[in-house]
């Protein structure tokens, strides 16, 4: 099995105070591997460092110690095109689906924004948008609506669709269904499973719900006070 993303003895500490500095250790000595086509579950109570670890694996926070390796390379040593390639291939889906989308942009504009950034020719936008909507199970009539005019589950599907446009290899899912109803949660979890099977994606699933972790994960780690318990 191919490990796409690895954390080696990763730690994170924050400093507070202007004169008398105080050091808070959020995470220490975390080592883990994410494998293509598999889901790694990450559990822990509120404040145990789950989201911080997810942000470091996505390259959105720099670790204070240790390394995050993508395809064998330390992500904080990547430069230019290589770093951009990492950014595209490791994506994150957040807990609050409405907060993930710009409330002043229609769903169509939100999707086109990604296509524009990818420098895809405009003549292909319609086709690519249609393909992605089909993949996440959304009807085309939603395109002209704004995030506030669609349901939380539909927003989460749009957020997932935007991520899929980038052809990622790894998706970090930070409590992707905890803000959703049980019926929508079931839809999104099944969709994630189908997409993983179809595209061979590696997931890091952050959740405090054991039943969600049990349903989705091939392996699970539990964080407790900043370390693996």
């Amino acid at each position: 099995m191919l490990a796409v993303l690895k954390a080696e003895e990763v730690g994170k500490a924050y400093e507070s105070g202007l004169i008398f500095k105080k050091r808070h250790i959020a995470l220490r000595g975390i080592t883990l591997e994410m494998v293509e086509g598999k889901t790694l579950g990450l559990m822990g109570v509120s404040g145990s460092g789950k989201t911080t670890l997810g942000m470091m694996l996505a390259g959105l926070e720099k670790p204070s110690s240790g390394r995050v390796l993508f395809a064998g390379e330390d992500i904080w040593r990547l430069r230019g095109r290589e770093f951009l390639a990492f950014r595209r291939q490791v994506q994150m889906v957040f807990q609050d689906p409405e907060g993930s989308l710009n409330p002043r942009k229609s769903i169509e504009r939100s999707i086109h924004e990604v296509l524009g950034l990818l420098k895809i020719p405009q003549r292909e936008w319609l086709k690519r948008t249609g393909e992605i909507l089909e993949m996440v199970g959304l009807p085309e009539e939603l395109l002209c609506r704004y995030p506030a005019q669609i349901s939380g589950g539909q927003c989460q599907r749009v957020a997932l669709g935007r991520v899929l446009l980038l052809h990622p290899r790894v998706i970090i899912l930070d409590e992707p269904t905890s803000a959703l109803d049980i019926s929508v949660q079931a839809q999104i979890l099944n969709l994630l499973k189908d997409l993983q099977q179809e595209l061979g994606l590696a997931y890091l699933l952050i959740s405090h719900q054991p039943e969600v972790i049990r349903f989705m994960s091939h392996e699970t780690i539990v964080l407790e006070r900043g370390g693996i318990s």
């Binding site: 019926s183 099944n190 349903f215």
Partner: protein, 329 residues
Amino acid sequence: MSSPLANAAPLLQIEGLSVSFETPLGRVKAAQDVCFDLREGETLALVGETGCGKSVVASAIMKLLPHNASVQGRAVFAGRDLLALGEKEMARTRGSEIAIVFQNPSLSLNPIIRVGKQIAEMLQVHKGISRTRSLQMAEDMLSRLGLVKKETASMYPFQFSGGMNQRVMIATSMILSPRIIIADEPSKGLDGVLAGEVMAEMARIKDQVGASLLLITHDLLLARDISDRMAVMYCGEIVEIGKSREVFSEPLHPYTNALLSCLPERGFQPIPGSSPSMIEPPAGCKFHPRCPQKQDKCMRRPEMVQVESSGEFSGANESTGREVRCWLY
């Protein structure tokens, strides 16, 4: 839990309650012909997905709907139709006789008044209790809900987490020992263990003061664990009502069955299709476009019918109160 309250007298009777809102996009039919009884001392859970109209029913009972709402039907409490009461009389009823816990505590609490003072204010306004005594009672109530530190009462809502603020809201609603507590998603913002503890404490205080609880939630497991009876709502209508354990183990309406199949222990099986528009809901049974047992007559609206309970849930001397809105029965 077999409900000892099945034959208790109704304290609140909701009869044919319909609520709609005029919006720029059209008329939103948020609740249609909602009927149920809340009996003395019982906990009735109103469950359903987000947007199905549960909170609208609660706000309609409390007469807290915005001006663009049009309300029909009756909400009879202690012989009075609440929907026909004037604002002055309703203000006396709110808090002292019927209390409500809203789902967004940070919006419901005043951010610049200490929490103890906000709870104590209820006692001062409604019962004329002195400032010192009411503050002491507020502190006692907070400690019963797990906020045990003495300085808690002198803190501000912004210094609390969402969960702590929710407990302040629960304390505020229970301090006057109301006869009915309406709790709108009271466990929202609390993590699993804390939600269980707070709800258990709420149920204990409710039993102590002999109140009835109308629990509005989309958390089916919470509803099963703490309610005596359960009413399932879909697209503004109650589709099934019965004892909670019975509804859970033997759901009658295809929607109840599909909703329960989404639960983790039943394998997260999603409901096919998506929730209908509340502006142009489907004709007839509103679940028919997604229903696996759809028939031709589902295009006509079914009436709510009484159904006899079977097996362990049947009782010779007891009205089981099992009702379902489906052509299959």
